[in-house]
Structures are given as structure tokens and as C-alpha cells.
């Protein structure tokens, strides 16, 4: 280094320091003045193009050539004699340089920044060496090379690079703003930076970010910046906004339009500049810089910051696009999440990387991270709608994946975890990037179980309607036919294409046209018409009997939009009805005839009965009269002419009498029997015990000792008729007393017992008995087992008893054998239900 210094010194031919004779510092330090012999050298340096100055050991500028003064813009008086450090931007650097020189170390290409008279900063490269005299540091000579232009370009590039880097790495806009402000401030020596954003809503500029150099504080100013907003044209930034170009205030104290002037003043800020930031020709922000020092306007710096402003604009544009994209993506995601259909996306390898809530609901499960859609769907068991199984390679997902094509409206049945079956419709669309490369897929699917069911039902209904024998027709509220089934074709003869779109009135016979208006009116009021029987006209003009049922058809909102009509051909029924009607009339006629005949017959019968009654009257009166006469005369002859008659004649007369008496009894029995057969009897409770004793008392011939009658205990009340019962008792006891072996005293025992719900009254005798083969015969009319010679009787007695018992709702029977006596019994309902 020393050699180098020497060589430099030598090469420059600096054997003595330049002395500036008219500079006051030089005069003050006369002992340090350079030797005069160097005058010509001095003249050379004086006019040299390279800036040069001498500095004394204390840092005082001893001399400077014209080039140096021109470079910095000072006059000799303003420059020479002052401390060199006053002109260095970096004071420390200035003293450092001096110390190095004092130590004997030369300075080579040392970059330094010098302050010009107008406040501008010039960057220079300094080459310096010390001049020694008698081992004493006398002065240093410094050559400065102005590299401001180059430096600025470098600085501009560095700044742009730094800003670009910062903006590229920045997260949110505010972070980017602070970084940018810091870089600009640090790079270009501004103390405060503010980024103002044009708020489009309030149409004012407001502070987005504020930055100041770390070493200093500007509390009043910062607070004001963060608080204030600016209208167009107001203050520095308002001016920039209005003029759309940068503005520069070298000294804030001299500016009339700076509202923050007092705060700036109190915080020690002097210079300011501001730059518009355009985005597509529109101002979106203003960058503002402040310095504690007065700074003249610097075109170069304006250019740099304008370039930086363009970078910021680019950043904002990108940010805005990103934000837009983000917002749109957020919207998209939100939309997908809220969509009432299942949505999911897959990456290029088929892994599900997004699915919305509805998708998870429909699946009834959630795919695990990294699960492929194919594997996930397979778990759900896929079936076709026709019930066949979908094999793994046949699934729409696999097809879409393998062939990279869209799937549209594929219908599948899935079986979810809970076993529930669901019909879904799925669409898969490959996602392609700009180069057409597939980077994933998006699938949407929905539950169409209801629709599928409804579809099935509607197809079923359609089939039912179509195959119905009845005509099923729909029409709108104007009576225009909208559908027409096969039944309707058959019934009315019109083909579907002939009739749909025509008015239903073509089916009405002209005289019934007003029926349609009535029907439509009812339908509009939501009423139906049930089984309305009327006439309709077929295509061939033939009239048919139909039964109409018309119902309103409503849309999903319940509005009546038309009517469905079911027409049934009832011609057959009408014919049947007519036939039935005719048959009924015929029947009525026949009935009337029959009724007449019945009446005739009844009249005849009544006549017959009357005849019969007249007959029995006659029998009782007229037939018995001669018998009485026969008997009477026979008796009279016997009594009055007994003496004149032979004994056998008297005997014969007795026989005549007996025969007559027997015949009379016979006639009376027959009359009794016939009366029992045909007459009506009142049935009621009868005190059998009392009746029995009364009846028996009427017959003296049954009294003991001639007949022994024993009643075991009190006889009950029965339901019957007193005269009939009296007749029964008389006949049964009469028989028992009569049919005994000669010489035997008749013994009759009477008792009662329960026979089911009836009362059985038994009459046991010690008579001759009845052969079981005759048991049935004895109750027949005129049936006799014994001749009148053996046992007198008419053969009607038991018939009368049987008839009487039957008429009372009872029954009669006998237990007997020859020689064993007989037990006759009659059964009658009890007469005292409550008493039993």
C-alpha cells in the first residue's frame, strides 16, 4: 500500500502540496503553506479537469481546484477554509479518512458522498495520500472522481432490485408498503416515508403505511399522517393526485400548501417529495418522502422513485388480481359448500382433495385424506338402476379417469353405510390446465331417489292410465284435451293425434253442450264430479252412455290447472238396468197377479174355512140332532113300553142308545180336534196344580176308591192355554182310568221333572200297557189298538192331546210295554221363569 501510495504520488507528480494563497484558512496557517516553487504545478492542478483539494491535518480544506468547486457548486470562499467533514454526508467517514491518512495509509477509490451547495449529494471516489514534511503530516491531497451518474444508476438498480425483491416476498400490502418505504428511505437517505392509498369510497387519500428511519422519531408528524386524509389538490399529496406528476418541496418552510407544516416544523422535517403511483392510468396511491434536510429537486431521484412507483403499481395490480382470485376462490368454495348438490374435486392421481358438506351427507361418510375417489365409491357398493352390479372398472369415475372424458347424468344406486339405498345422478368433468393437460376432475352428484321414485311412479301411473279400460282424459281449464289414453281411443273412436289439442266439446252431443261449462265451473272451484251419468258422442256419431268422474288437477303449488276425466262406458250397464227395470216391472206385474191370486185364494180359503165352520156347526147341530133323537126315542121306548117289549128288544134298544151316544161323542171329539187345529189360543202361564185339581174334581167317577190318583208334589206353572191343558189332563187321566185289566183298580201317579229347559209332567198308570210297536200309532187320528168291545173310545183322545200340546209349543211321549203299565208325559215350557 505504501508503495502504491508512492507510486500514485509519483505518477501524479505530487512533490508538493497545492497552496491556495488567497484562502483565509491557508493564511491562518501560514507555516503550513506550500512552497512557492510549486506555483506552476498549482496552476496545472488549478485548471485540471479532475477535482482536487488539499486538507490540513485538522481536516480544514486548504485548497481546492476549480473542477472541485464546479462539481460541488461552491465558491472558493464558501469552500476553502472550512472543515471537509462539513461537506461529507457521512461525518464519520470523513474523520475516518483523515485518521487513515494521518497513519500514513493511502486511500484508494474510496467512495464518499459529498453535499453540494444546492443540497444535492454527489458520489465520488476519493484517492488520497498524505504529504509529509520533516516526519510531520502536513496535508493530504484528495482527488475526487464524480461517479454520481454511475452511482445513481446503480442505486436505482439496487433500489429497484430491493423493492422488487421485497414486493415479491411480501405478504399483505401493508407489509410490502413498509418494506418498500424502508428500502427507499435507507437507500436514498430520506428520513420518513408515507404511502398513501386512494380510498375510492371516500374519494380521499389516506395513510396506508408510515415509516421513519430507526434512529429518529417524528411523533407529531407520524400521528398527523396516520390521522389525516386528503382531498384532491390539498397539500403535497393532494397536488400530486391533481397534477398526476411528482412534486418536490425543497424546504417545507417556504411552501404555502402544506397542512402538516407545523408538525413537520416541530419534528424538524425540511424537504419533501411525493410521487403518484398509477395503475392503468389511474392514480391509486401516492408515495411521500421527507428529509430533515433541505433538498433541492433531483430529477435523477424523481426518475428512480417513479420507476419504483411503477413497481409498486405492478405489485398492487398483482395483489388486486390475487385478492380478486382469492375472493373468487373463496366465493367459489363457499358456493360449493352451500350447494344443495354433492361436489368434490380430485387431483391428477384421483385423490379427493375437496368435497362439500352435501357430498358428505349424501355419502353418509367422509373420504379420508389421500383416498382416491374410486376406492371411496367402491365402499358404497354401486349398482345400476336396473339392479345389476357396477364392476370397479365400469364406474363412471374409473371411466372418466381412464379415458379423461366427461360423464354426464349417469344414474347409479348406492348403498350407504346404514344400508339405505339411494339413487344418485353424477356428472364428472376433467379439469384441464391451459395446455390441455388434465390436472384433476370435478364431480357433482345429487340424490334423485325421490325423482327416481316419482319417475317410476309416474311411469307406473302412465302405464296404468294407458292400460285402463276406462277412458282417461285430461284437459286444461279451457276444456282443451291435453292427454288421451287407449281406453279413450276405444271408447270414443278418436286416435290420440286426432283429438289432443281439440276442445272436449267434440265429444258432447249438441243438446248437452252446456254440461261442459258446468263441469269446468265446478273444476275451477276445486270441486269434483262423481259418477255423473250422461251421453257422449263417438267419432262415428254414435251416442254412448257414460259415467263421468272429473277431478281438478293441481300443480305443485296447488293451483288448479286442469281436470282429469274418467269416462266409463255404461251402455252395457244401461242395457242391463233397462233389462232389470223391465224384469222388475214384469215381476211387479207377476206379483200383482200373484197377489190377486193369493187374495182370490185367501178369499176362497176363507170361504172354505167359513164353509168348514158352517160344516162343523152343521155337524154339531144337525148331525147330533138325529143322534139325540135316536137315543131319545130308544130310551123313551125302553122306559115307556118296557112291559110290552121282549127282553132282547129292550137289549137291542139299549145298543141303539149306546151307539148313538158313542157317535155323538165321536162327533164332539172330531169337533174338538178340528177346533184345536184351526183356532188361535192365547198362551200364558198356567197354574197346572190348581188346574189339575179343578179338572179332576169335575169327574166323580175318578174319585177314590174307583180310581187312585196320586200327585207326588205340587205341579209347577207352565206356559200354555188353560182349556187345552184341561182337555189334556181329562184325556190322559181318562185313558189311564179306562185301559186297565178287568178287576184292577186304576192307580195313577203324577209327577213332574225337568227336561232341559222344559217341564215334563208324567202320568204313570198300572194299565194294560202298550206294545212299543204301537207307541207311534196311538197318537194318530182314529187310531185304535183295542176294539170298542174291549175298551170304549173314539180313537181321537190322544190325537187331541198331542195336537193341544203341539199348539202350546210342547211335546208328548210314552214309555210303556204290554202288561207293564204306561207312562205318558207332556213337556211344556216353564210358566214361571223368575220363580225357578
Amino acid at each position: 500500500m505504501r508503495d502504491s501510495l508512492n507510486s500514485v504520488s509519483n505518477s501524479r507528480g505530487l512533490s508538493s502540496p497545492i497552496y491556495s494563497g488567497n484562502s483565509s484558512p491557508a493564511r491562518q496557517h501560514s507555516s503550513d503553506e506550500p512552497p512557492a516553487r510549486c506555483a506552476e504545478l498549482r496552476a496545472f492542478f488549478e485548471t485540471a479537469a479532475i477535482p482536487l483539494h488539499w486538507v490540513g491535518p485538522e481536516g480544514t480544506i486548504l485548497w481546492a481546484n476549480k473542477a472541485e468547486l464546479d462539481l460541488l457548486g461552491y465558491s472558493q470562499d464558501e469552500y476553502i477554509g472550512r472543515k471537509i467533514s462539513d461537506f461529507h454526508v457521512d461525518h464519520i467517514l470523513a474523520s475516518e479518512i483523515l485518521q487513515r491518512l494521518a497513519r500514513g495509509e493511502p486511500l484508494e477509490q474510496r467512495k464518499a458522498q459529498l453535499r453540494c451547495r444546492d443540497g444535492a449529494i454527489k458520489t465520488v471516489l476519493i484517492d488520497s495520500s498524505a504529504f509529509w514534511e520533516n516526519g510531520r503530516f502536513v496535508l493530504s491531497q484528495c482527488f475526487s472522481r464524480d461517479i454520481t451518474g454511475r452511482e445513481l444508476a446503480e442505486q436505482r438498480l439496487a433500489l429497484q432490485y430491493s423493492v422488487a425483491e421485497a414486493l415479491a416476498q411480501a405478504g399483505p400490502v401493508s407489509e410490502a408498503a413498509v418494506k418498500t418505504l424502508r428500502i427507499i428511505g435507507e437507500n436514498s437517505g430520506w428520513d420518513v416515508g408515507v404511502l398513501w392509498i386512494l380510498d375510492r369510497e371516500i374519494k380521499q387519500l389516506r395513510c396506508l403505511e408510515y415509516w421513519n428511519a430507526p434512529a429518529v422519531k417524528f411523533p407529531n408528524f407520524e400521528a398527523l399522517c396516520r390521522k389525516l386524509t386528503f382531498d384532491e389538490g390539498v397539500g403535497l399529496i393532494g397536488r400530486v393526485w391533481a397534477c398526476r406528476r411528482p412534486a418536490w418541496i425543497p424546504d417545507l418552510r417556504n411552501d404555502g400548501n402544506f397542512p402538516r407544516a407545523s408538525a413537520a416544523e416541530s419534528d424538524g422535517l425540511r424537504a419533501a417529495c411525493a410521487f403518484p403511483i398509477f395503475l392503468e392510468e389511474e392514480i391509486v396511491a401516492v408515495l411521500e418522502l421527507f428529509s430533515r434536510e433541505v433538498r433541492p429537486e433531483n430529477d435523477e431521484f424523481v426518475k428512480i422513485i417513479s420507476a419504483v412507483g411503477a413497481q409498486i403499481a405492478q405489485y398492487l395490480l398483482r395483489k388486486r388480481a390475487e385478492e380478486g382470485l382469492l375472493a373468487s376462490e373463496r366465493r367459489m368454495q363457499q358456493m360449493m359448500s352451500l350447494m344443495p348438490i354433492g361436489v368434490y374435486t380430485c387431483d391428477a392421481s384421483g385423490c379427493i382433495n375437496f368435497f362439500n358438506r352435501r357430498a358428505a351427507e349424501l355419502w353418509g361418510a367422509e373420504p379420508s385424506p389421500g383416498e382416491t375417489e374410486e376406492a371411496f365409491w367402491r365402499k358404497l357398493q354401486l349398482w345400476r338402476v336396473d339392479g345389476t352390479r357396477v364392476l370397479p372398472h365400469e364406474t363412471p369415475m374409473a371411466q372418466s379417469m381412464l379415458l379423461g372424458r366427461s360423464v354426464r347424468d349417469e344414474e347409479l344406486v348406492i348403498v350407504r353405510g346404514n344400508g339405505e339405498k339411494m339413487v344418485i345422478s353424477i356428472e364428472i368433468e376433467p379439469l384441464l390446465d391451459l395446455t390441455g393437460h388434465r390436472f384433476g376432475s370435478i364431480s357433482v352428484f345429487q340424490d334423485i331417489t325421490k325423482q327416481a321414485r316419482a319417475d317410476y311412479m309416474s311411469r307406473l301411473l302412465a302405464a296404468i292410465v294407458e292400460s285402463s279400460d276406462d277412458a282417461i282424459v285430461s284437459k286444461d281449464l279451457n276444456g282443451v284435451i291435453t292427454s288421451w289414453n287407449r281406453g279413450a281411443q276405444r271408447l270414443f273412436g278418436y286416435e290420440t293425434h286426432e283429438i289432443v289439442g281439440r276442445s272436449v266439446t267434440v265429444l258432447l252431443p249438441p243438446e248437452r253442450l252446456d254440461e261442459e261449462a258446468t263441469i269446468l265451473d265446478r273444476i275451477r272451484h276445486g270441486l269434483r264430479i262423481d259418477h255423473f251419468e250422461t251421453l257422449r258422442r263417438r267419432k262415428n256419431g254414435e251416442l254412448i252412455h257414460v259415467s263421468l268422474t272429473v277431478s281438478p288437477v293441481r300443480d305443485q303449488k296447488g293451483r288448479i290447472v286442469g281436470a282429469s276425466k274418467i269416462a266409463r262406458d255404461i251402455s252395457d250397464r244401461k242395457r242391463a238396468e233397462k233389462a232389470l227395470h223391465d224384469a222388475k216391472e214384469e215381476l211387479a206385474r207377476a206379483n200383482a197377479e200373484l197377489e190377486m191370486r193369493v187374495q182370490e185364494r185367501t178369499a176362497k180359503l176363507r170361504e172354505t174355512i167359513n164353509d168348514l165352520e158352517a160344516f162343523s156347526y152343521t155337524v154339531s147341530h144337525d148331525l147330533r140332532a138325529p143322534l139325540r133323537a135316536i137315543q131319545g126315542y130308544a130310551a123313551a121306548i125302553r122306559e115307556e113300553h118296557a112291559t110290552s117289549l121282549a127282553p132282547d128288544a129292550i137289549q137291542m134298544l139299549e145298543r141303539v142308545s149306546r151307539s148313538a151316544i158313542r157317535l155323538d161323542r165321536l162327533i164332539q171329539d172330531v169337533l174338538t180336534y178340528s177346533r184345536f187345529v184351526r183356532s188361535d189360543f192365547d198362551i200364558g202361564p198356567v197354574d197346572l196344580d190348581m188346574l189339575f185339581h179343578e179338572t179332576v174334581a169335575n169327574y166323580p167317577e175318578w174319585r177314590s176308591p174307583r180310581v187312585e190318583i196320586k200327585i207326588r208334589d205340587k205341579l209347577p206353572r207352565v206356559l200354555g192355554n188353560e182349556p187345552l191343558l184341561s182337555q189334556c189332563i181329562t184325556n190322559l187321566i181318562g185313558n189311564a182310568a179306562k185301559f186297565v185289566a178287568p178287576g184292577t183298580t186304576p192307580r195313577i201317579e203324577i209327577w213332574h221333572e225337568a227336561a232341559g229347559s222344559n217341564v215334563r209332567v208324567c202320568f204313570r198308570d198300572n194299565g194294560i200297557g202298550i206294545d212299543p210297536k204301537d207307541h207311534r200309532r196311538i197318537f194318530g187320528l182314529f187310531e185304535r189298538i183295542y176294539s170298542p168291545k174291549e175298551f170304549d173310545g173314539t180313537g181321537i183322545g190322544l190325537s187331541i192331546v198331542r195336537k193341544a200340546v203341539e199348539r202350546m209349543g210342547g211335546s208328548i211321549g210314552v214309555d210303556s210295554a204290554l202288561g207293564q203299565g204306561s207312562t205318558f208325559w207332556i213337556e211344556l215350557p216353564p210358566g214361571d221363569l223368575t220363580g225357578r
Binding site: Y617, A625, R628, A629, I661, D664
Partner: protein, 148 residues
């Protein structure tokens, strides 16, 4: 009293014969008017009212129901319509035992009803009863009381 006649309305000659025999047996001395049909009975009763000296009114009528010309019930009805015969005892003596005849007879004002017995002995007993009751014991008002 004993001399007053009995009117026997009977179309059967046999029955008239048996009744007369029975009367005799029962020692009934009253004269007997015989009417062989209903009209004749009414005629006789009418005559008896006109000339009580020649033909005094009967003290008892024995009336058969089944009669030629005018049925017994009509005769009975006629008798009860005559103020002077209203209390005249009328005994129905007929072969009918029909309840309807019994009802009809009493409802028209018959005093008694007997079915003709089929044998002589029974008839004799019956006539004897009639004599005792109607001819000897019973007392009848002379003329129609106001309340009838």
C-alpha cells in the same frame, strides 16, 4: 104364576117331543107354546101382547139358535127391543157349544145358555133344574124398570 105358558122355539119335532116328555117327567104343568121357526115365535109373542086373555104372554122362552126364517139371535134381539118383554127370561137351548154363539147370546140379553144333552137322562136333569130355578125360585119384575 104357574099357569103362565112357556114358549118353546124349536124347529126339531124330535126335540119338541123330548122336551115335552122331559117337562112331563119334571111335572111342569105350564102350558107350552111351540113356535117351529123364529118368525112364528115373534108372531106368538106379538099376539100374546094383543089378547092376553086368549093367549097370555109366556113366563119363559126356551130358544133354539138355529131356526128357519128368523135365526134365534134375531128373535132374542127382537124380544129385548120390546119394552114389555125386556125382563122376559130367555133360555138358549141349542146343540152348539161354540163359544161365539155363547158370547153372542149373552151379549143380546139371554138369561141362560144350555147345550142340548145327548141323552135323555141328562135332558131330564136339565129340565128339572130349569123348572126349579126359573119357574119356582126366581122373581122377576112385573114391568120394565126405568133402568133397563
Amino acid at each position: 104364576m104357574t099357569s103362565l105358558p112357556i114358549l118353546l122355539v124349536e124347529d126339531s119335532e124330535d126335540d119338541v117331543f123330548f122336551m115335552k116328555s122331559a117337562f112331563k117327567k119334571a111335572e111342569i104343568a105350564n102350558p107350552v107354546y111351540i113356535a117351529e121357526d123364529g118368525e112364528r115365535a115373534v108372531e106368538l109373542l106379538h099376539e100374546a101382547r094383543g089378547s092376553p086373555a086368549q093367549r097370555p104372554p109366556p113366563c119363559l122362552v126356551i130358544l133354539d139358535l138355529k131356526l128357519p126364517r128368523l135365526p134365534g139371535l134375531e128373535v132374542l134381539k127382537w124380544i129385548r127391543e120390546q119394552p114389555d118383554y125386556r125382563t122376559l127370561p130367555v133360555i138358549i137351548f141349542t146343540s152348539s157349544q161354540d163359544e161365539r154363539d155363547v158370547q153372542a147370546a149373552f151379549s143380546r140379553g139371554a138369561n141362560s145358555y144350555f147345550s142340548k144333552p145327548s141323552d135323555t137322562a141328562s135332558l131330564a136333569r136339565l129340565v128339572s133344574l130349569i123348572k126349579t130355578y126359573w119357574l119356582e125360585l126366581s122373581i122377576l119384575p112385573r114391568s120394565s124398570p126405568e133402568w133397563l
